[in-house]
Symmetry: C2
């Protein structure tokens, strides 16, 4: 059985336990995880089989990318799905509550009987947390490409380069190294711009001595990598060096302290407690990390409020940061595979300042 066949079998087990005769999948990433289809559309799973509802733009692609899946491309996606849901006669029809708009829900209500509709939690998000060996390979490959590109990029970077052009060059090097695309808009945030964790590269010239937050990743075969380094061109100013070392220490504490079986919020606390002790608690405003896979941000959340628990095979980021308005920021992010023993790094971009 293919990996997709296995995933569908597992999902069908869950449907059976939930007494669902049919299920509507509207999350793009979940659709891809179950079938390998990477275009737009909806998926219906019922006793008969699997049906992808799309349109002429994606019909050929849907047939090419999948196995043992029917494809229909004749009308609005949701209408096609509703037709099938009606035909199949299931007594209980599940839908993804987090991935269906209220408007689509209203349309469903107009077709499928109210009493049959079951809003479901995102079970596939849960299944996707632990990666199989093929997924780990793809993410490792994406991370390797991102590392190689970064090394070449870092060597050639000089003060005076504009953020936007620096980001573009890193993008170019990743694609030339084999990435399908960057896994998100690359961040190159120099000096004060680094105070925004999600800064967009602009027209500022990078100066010597100041911290530059570089957050980048590659997408390969649908899977993402995600990595951050804070670098300094020339001699670091004293404050930059001290902050960098503090953030690095927080990161290492979390990386060395984590292991399968731990609550994600305990992992977050490992880094957060250290930053609190050093007086930087309120400058670390985001969670410590997140899962990475088909999406660059996916489960588990590694944050103060997370209810997830680490398990072997999860791939997560560990990315403490300190952000100071008007001055700048320092963030360091590692992508790791969670193992029984601890964390195994998937990236190896250099950590020199």
């Amino acid at each position: 059985m293919s990996q997709y066949g296995e995933r569908i079998a597992r999902f069908r087990d869950w449907m059976e336990a939930e007494d669902l005769g049919a299920m509507l999948i509207s999350s793009e990433a979940n659709l891809r995880w179950l079938t390998n289809y990477s275009g737009e559309g909806l998926l219906v799973i019922d006793a008969e089989g699997l049906l992808i509802c799309t349109d002429s733009r994606y019909a050929a692609q849907a047939v090419e990318e999948t196995q043992e899946v029917e494809v229909t491309a004749d009308g609005a996606h949701l209408q096609q799905a509703m037709d099938r849901l009606n035909e199949c006669g299931a007594a209980r029809v599940g839908f993804e509550r987090a991935h269906l708009s209220y408007a689509s829900y209203e349309k469903l209500l107009g077709t499928v009987e109210d009493s049959k509709l079951v809003p479901c939690a995102d079970e596939i998000r849960h299944m996707r947390m632990v990666k199989d060996s093929d997924e780990i390979d793809r993410i490792r490959r994406a991370a390797g490409i991102a590392d190689d590109a970064f090394r070449h990029w870092r060597e050639a970077l000089t003060p005076g380069v504009v953020e936007r052009e620096a980001a573009l060059e890193l993008h170019r090097l990743m694609v030339l190294a084999g990435a399908d695309r960057p896994s998100f808009d690359i961040i190159v945030a120099s000096g004060p711009n680094g105070a925004k964790p999600h800064a967009r590269p602009g027209s500022r010239e990078i100066c010597a001595g100041e911290p530059v937050v570089v957050d980048w990743g590659a997408a390969v075969d649908g899977y993402c990598s995600d990595c951050t380094r804070t670098i300094i061109l020339g001699e670091p100013h004293r404050r930059s060096r001290e902050l960098w070392q503090t953030v690095r220490e927080a990161q290492i504490t979390a990386l060395e302290g984590l292991s399968a079986g731990m609550e994600c919020r305990e992992v977050d606390a490992l880094a957060r407690d250290l930053l609190r002790d050093r007086g930087w608690e309120s400058e670390f405003g985001h969670g410590l990390g997140h899962g990475v896979g088909l999406q660059v941000h996916e489960a588990p959340a590694v944050s103060q409020k997370s209810e997830d628990e680490l398990a072997p095979g999860m791939i997560i980021t560990i990315e403490p940061g300190v952000y100071i308005d008007g001055w700048g920021g320092v963030r360091l992010e590692e992508l790791v595979l969670v193992t029984e023993e601890g964390a195994s790094a998937l990236t190896n971009a250099p950590y020199d300042l």
Copy 2:
């Protein structure tokens, strides 16, 4: 009053007509159109004023980008919005039915009384259809950058280049020419790959004589351009030339026939009827065009089922195409401003084969 102030005043008029004391805006593009804020979050509009609910990653940006808007970044976006909706005491609270997930709706239901909640049509989508002069300028600027980049790119393109690298180079040229980024993933689909309207650039080498569909656009200051040419390196094969001319004729027929006041579906029919007469109806599987603005695909739809009507100030694409499985495709796309007199082109990339 700023353009944003005017837009909010118009939207408040609509809220008053609908008897809505408060409104929750969850569409990213609508939030940006109303306030200029370009990050993640939710917007609450009530009698008191405007409140953007975001988190620490975007708090500084939200303050910088907006005027006369309060910003809160203390907790989950939706929770912050619900707190405000409860405090404000509005008797009727609207939400965007197309832009709120069923899960968020359930959370709203748990906080705001059921009887107060009003699912709303996307009125802002409607308002956004007709562009003001600032928006037209931005889109014109984006289109000009995309044109310039294309011209340089086209001159340098030779057979044997891999699709993915060709797309990357066009991307690079657009950013160097001043684009913030491409407005969507650039399509370079050579030979048989052109049969998929939304093909992704791959590892195929572009050959002489075959059609290559190139679909690209720039994003500048939040606004998009969108353009397609089908080019041929070297001497076109006879079938390519004939098909290209047929598609061009369909496009010109629509461009010359359209004017403010027409139903969008009539415009679609102008091109579709010509392709039908030539025997290519079933090879033209998508709509003739769409609005372009903050989003690369927005209202109005220019398709067979559209219920929109053209008005002066709309910016739309006219993009007939013919797609033949196993052989390839031809698509030609123009971006135009709808005027009282007809259509005024915003792109001027060359149309030579």
